[in-house]
Amino acid sequence: MLKYRKFKTFTLIFLGILFLLPIGVFAKGTMFIGNGVVLNQCTGTTCRYDSAGTTNLRFIGDNTNFEVDHKYTFKLNFSTTTSMASPTLTDCGLNINGAYVSPESRNSGRVNYECNQDYSRCDSTYVSTIVYTMPSSLTSVPYFIQCDMTPSATRYTYTNFTMSISDSNGSVIQAIDSNTDRMIEVNNYNANQNNKNRDANSEMIGGKIDNNTNVIGGKLDSHANTISGKLQQIIDNLTNLGSNIISGISSTIQSVGNAITNKIGELIGTQEVCNLYYETNNSNLLHGDAFEEGYLNSDGTLSGVNRNNFTTPFLEIPYNSNAKLSYRYYGDTTYRYCIYDNNKRLIRCTSYNDINNQPDINEITLNLTNQTSYIRYSGRMNYGSTYSILKGDCQRTGIAGLFNKFTKFVSDFFNINTDGANTGFQGFINDFTNSEDYGGLQRVITSPLNMVNNMNSACTPITLTFPHTNNSFQLPCIQTYLSGFINPAFITLIKLVVNGFICYRCVSQLLLFFHDLKDPHNDEIEVLDL
């Protein structure tokens, strides 16, 4: 019975882990929603948007007890850190209970725009103020402010994100800052689903009230008017508490899942490190005042690198298989002159002889999905017999990376210079006949003892230098190598299992050996019986 209970408990724990693990792995954050476009790859307040166009941002608010026919002012502060191109925020409006309501007055615009000297970083602040008089048909309603944002193909860091609601007297009745999870909607599906659920609930509640009204009549109405404010507040507090608990658990599961996903990705080698560089037969290509490049640091700051003067390779960028390389081609929307080779991971732009279709590359942008770096080039490409290629010398990490390194090593090894092989080989033989440098018989005895004495020696990487070549191959210490993508606790567990098994084998072998010594018919003893 006890064994069955233990089995049942372990089975439940195991099934629970199995159930939670995929949720953690796949619960990746999507923080902002747009009109059919998801702004994904968000970390904290940093999101990126991978293609230019117009989208909507929605800022979800609480259910607030608006009083009928009272005027309210919704004020939105929205700050970003961007690169050259800055988004614009326009046409902010209020969506009440799923319907857009025209504001009585609206004032939207950018109030601050500052760039550093090389224009690699610009800070923008937007304020949108909308004034509404709540319609008499609605009292407690869900709402959100919807704004149109026109982004370009770049990365934005949302540095500030606040919304406040004031009554007609100017008193702030509700303020929501960027740390409030309620402002962050998950996606369009959830929003639509919430609307459906809300509609269904409204119908159900409405039916009950109608039925009760027939029975109790005005009594219910009077009580409802008395307790609605406090009751609503209690319900709101409980809802918020539950929401915070669930969001906290979700956040933990999400972080664990992301960590597991990243480790698995590193282990199987889905991530790559690339050295990107241009190959060209014309040094003037893509050089000029318009050339720019930069990368976004992990802390959200933007740095310029080698402006107008890039070297080869000029920047190392984490690069994965999901990276997107986009480019704009001035005057030619079909992009027929540029081909992105996904296998070779390079963009190849060829020139064109027709002067009317001069391939003037306006911008090439390498968007690295789920990474913190990007490169953008703006420059002019000559036409004629010239070419310019953006190449990526990519190496995978993890097991696949090791295989790639091994392949490269084999390739390099067979491309050897055998000059001096004769001399070296003769020296190799002669060294072993030089009695002055070697101890001969004494070393045969002392060397094994010295080896045993070095049992406690720490691991040092083995560097193998192959004779007669300039190639060397370094084998790192296994724990140093594994610690890059395996938790040290897991390595300790492996050591525990391996050493436990070896100890068991050694002790059992010794016991068997001594046990067999007592057997006069033991073959091992008889063979040695002289």
């Binding site: 072993f432 006949t433 009695s435 070697y438 101890g439 001969g440 018989l441 004494q442 070393r443 045969v444 005895i445 002392t446 060397s447 094994p448 003892l449 010295n450 080896m451 045993v452 004495n453 070095n454 049992m455 406690n456 020696s457 720490a458 691991c459 040092t460 990487p461 083995i462 084998l475 210490c477 296994i478 724990q479 390595i491 492996i494 050591k495 391996v498 050493n499 070896i502 100890c503 050694c506 072998q509 010794l510 050996f513 010594l517 091992e524 003893i525 040695l528 019986d529 002289l530």
Partner: protein, 99 residues
């Protein structure tokens, strides 16, 4: 403790080699250089292994203590049968003398 034991063993071996085997070693070095080269080759193998022992040990996730246990096990299994055979040989020789 293992280190102290091994250090003592090495000192003892060096002493024995110094006193007894140095003349033999010198003779081999001077008159049989091929044999001396063979000894050097074997010793080089152990020296190389000694240099990289930490790397090998860590690659197999083996701790120094367990490695000592492995060496002790191998040592017992190699030396004890020889010891027993020697004892038996002496006993048989003694029986012959008594008879």
């Amino acid at each position: 403790m293992i280190n102290a034991l091994l250090s003592g063993l090495i000192r003892f071996a060096t002493f024995i080699l110094g006193v007894l085997m140095t003349p033999i070693n010198n003779y081999i070095e001077q008159n049989i250089p091929e044999l001396n080269s063979a000894f050097n080759l074997i010793a080089d193998f152990f020296d190389t292994a000694s240099t990289n022992l930490g790397w090998v040990r860590e690659s197999f996730f083996i701790t120094p203590e367990v490695m000592g246990l492995i060496i002790i096990t191998i040592g017992i299994r190699l030396t004890l049968p020889l010891l027993i055979s020697g004892i038996k040989l002496v006993a048989k020789w003694w029986d012959t003398i008594i008879a």
